[in-house]
Subunit: 280 residues, 4 copies
């Protein structure tokens, strides 16, 4: 699997496809997107070896591709399809997203390696350890810098690729968000119109919205404002209480986060400034 | 058809249903909603006469119901099912909502009387008059007060019940919005997150939203913030240009406004403070 | 909470609401539906005691209501809101619906009592028992009558109200289906157009459908054809493999079955011949 | 714009992208799909000239591409983006799809040329001619062969590319369907489960479905069974009458057919046996 981003110009697809064809690479899926506004070109190519020309393996192929990547000044990545991203999950007390991710992982429908679960509460220890996953409790003892340092240490020690905030109710510091840029995913509620701040479901309820939704996005220093990966909504009516809205919202959050993590695992998500390109 | 709003207490449904049963009224549809927070009770009852006891007609029935209405301090309305609301449509240059409303009206699938179309532009005259509807051009000649006075005069002269802003790109003055409170419906785009101000589709495009939608709502002095009647969304991906988003948004706006007007026509929409109760 | 079905005629709502008002019953939610075709009337009333007149409790209220019920030949049911339906779950090897129901039950978002899980396979024992629920393995040893007798015995012994087939891949005999009429719920895939028989996702894939869905329904002797409780769909495109379709279908099945069981728990589902009335 | 279908093998993308790069063709959008089951490869490439090397025009480019097309035994098509497909619309009495297509065409949001409207009824003449489109009435006078011959004659004389059945309630003969294979699009209702034959909405109503939908598909001799282009559904509940279902179904049919025609116009639809590949 090859993903790449570079400045758009004539000949990129020709160069990449010729590179693969010359080595017996059979393209099983290829998607491109050229953003006319930013002038950036995005490509995702899945391919298979058809003969012995690719026996050198992924490392050999990376060396072979380097001149092509350099020629077009590509930001490229060549991975074996069997390589699963290593994810660390952060959670507070809400179990819906965590339980869903663990169940999908356990039943083999989510191709990631879960390296651990970190939490500022003890509540999710039991379900996490039942799945055989290490649980790291990082209580909020007033020293946020220390808590974040511990989190980052676990992230680094486990060589995690992504931090998934599965209803983690702590705002990351600007510093930590900066270190994890493009590698930290969050899920939050979404409404029409939007509601920032505390108790959003209750405020959406007061406003009488007819749709409630959720957004999965990359985390940036600006809370709830990073590049959007996926969104979905559900219809409600005037009889929905704030509690109903919380419950329905939980189901949407669960589905939307699971989809975002799956697409990350499949390397379908590429960053495009403050937007994403999703090759579905 | 009877709709009513009053303070919630024991015995309302009993009183209303006894009133109808005593006069041979057969309930064909009845919906209630008690808002626990505001303590208000909402009810919509559709009924038919089963014998001659109701031969007195709607006017007679209103007189009969008055004591019951007074006893519970109800805000009530009793109408004949054949009474169609009279609507005045305001439009600027965008034809999608207007053409759709006219087509539904012409084919008999929208039970309203269209009293006329007002516009600040000449563009929609041809299609309006082809449908046999009077077209009133109110050019924006700098005197907004005069323009609004003319609009209100047409509204009053045609004895219209509702003003439907079908992509009318003029902001109503606080004064006019106040006069038409609960009688003026608007349609506008909606996004997650929301975007206020100019060129919203372009800004949503810059932000990379994955869903675009539309909201039909009652107009209040606070632009785009009145009680919501209906909302819907459509999914897009990174390839959608701002122009695609405008086009998809138009289709959603058309559908959402048509639904809102239909529900108004069926007396399914009751105001509940800054929210609505929709008896679907 | 009172639910009732009877022949439609003048005065039912008046009688029920008067009955409640006379005993200080405050209606918190009431929904009715009159089916013009069958002439049947359906009602669901949730109410609270406002004073000591209802201190006699549910049993006393049932005695009080009996004359009214008799007068209109009602099929009625009066339950305390705290009474949770007792459900028995049947499952084969697919864990998605079972894991979801257990998680919702454990986190208190599904107001049922799970009396046990029966299965024709051992696979789901571990997750079931981890939740503290008894697991009954009923291996298919060639004697289907004995297997069904054992299942019915567990259903009766646990005094279960409903049997929920959460991907139970055994067809119930006509006899068992008949005994559980209106008390057994199934979930199955749904497509446009429909596909009966084996490997439906693969056949839908061959046909190139653009939507896949799921239906929760009451079980009747005619497999997959009982009264529909809930349906939902998800959009796919030509790139979806049969395996993708199975996976997406699993998510929809999970959501749809959870909704159906919730509505059953809230007594929102009434049977209307081969259809359902769902008071949402 | 180049679309092509051929047997999948190594080097196709490389050959096509090299062909374009060598002539200064800048790829603005490119999508591929390899069907593992059929072994067919599908591609759609939109490109622009960056310099004078493409001044020879579309005809010249076709000649240039022929050797490449021959080498891979491609079924290919190279068109100028400004070439609009010529469509002939067939309609009976239901105006919803026709009015919508005419309005989109008139407002420039549907990039097709409408060559005429044929009908077995006089009803749609007025709206068609108001849009300046010729109306051909082909009354069903008992001689179906003559009627179809007249239809085909209009199709040929107007050099139409596609026949769009916009609620045309005449079944095409096997012979006519065969002549128009891949060039005739139909819209019809869709339900879960499906209902064939007369009065489908009424039968779906009797069955108590919770979703109703529509399918746009290519016409084959087997009625309502050709390759599916697009599908959509809408949610209903038990209160929906058969008439409501017809009305809601009309809205979905309108939207789904408009999308299918737009994708045809954009050359986004390729046939893959009894399925379609839709490059959205």
């Amino acid at each position: 699997m090859l993903t790449l981003v570079c400045e758009d110009r004539v000949g990129i697809v020709a160069a990449v496809s010729r590179f693969l064809a010359d080595r017996g690479g059979f393209i099983t899926d290829s998607q491109q997107y050229a953003d006319r506004e930013s002038g950036r070109f995005f490509m995702r190519v899945a391919f298979e070896a058809t003969d012995s020309r690719m026996d050198g393996g992924t490392e050999w192929l990376r060396t072979e591709f380097t001149p092509t990547g350099d020629r077009f000044a590509m930001d490229w990545r060549l991975t074996d399809i069997g390589e699963r991203p290593r994810i660390l999950i952060a959670v507070s007390k809400g179990s819906h997203c965590l339980a869903d991710l663990l169940h999908r992982w356990q039943t083999g429908t989510l191709a990631v390696d879960i390296m651990g679960v970190v939490s500022n509460h003890p509540d999710m220890r039991r379900i996490t350890e039942w799945h055989g996953i290490p649980y790291h409790e990082l209580p909020p003892n007033g020293d946020k810098a220390a808590q974040e340092a511990a989190l980052l240490d676990i992230f680094d020690r486990t060589r995690s690729d992504y931090l998934v905030l599965a209803r983690y109710m702590q705002v990351l510091s600007e510093e930590l968000a900066g270190k994890l840029i493009g590698r930290c995913i969050n899920i939050h509620h979404s409404f029409l119109p939007g509601f920032k701040g505390a108790r959003p479901y209750h405020r959406a309820h007061e406003r009488g919205v007819k749709l409630i939704g959720a957004t999965a996005h990359f985390v940036t220093a600006d809370l709830d404002e990073g590049p959007i990966i996926e969104q979905a909504v559900e219809r409600i009516d005037h009889r929905a209480t704030a509690e109903d809205m919380v419950r329905i919202g939980r189901d949407i959050e669960t589905q939307v986060l699971a989809r975002a993590v799956r697409w990350i695992a499949d390397r379908r998500v590429l960053l495009n400034g403050c937007k994403t390109v999703i090759f579905r």
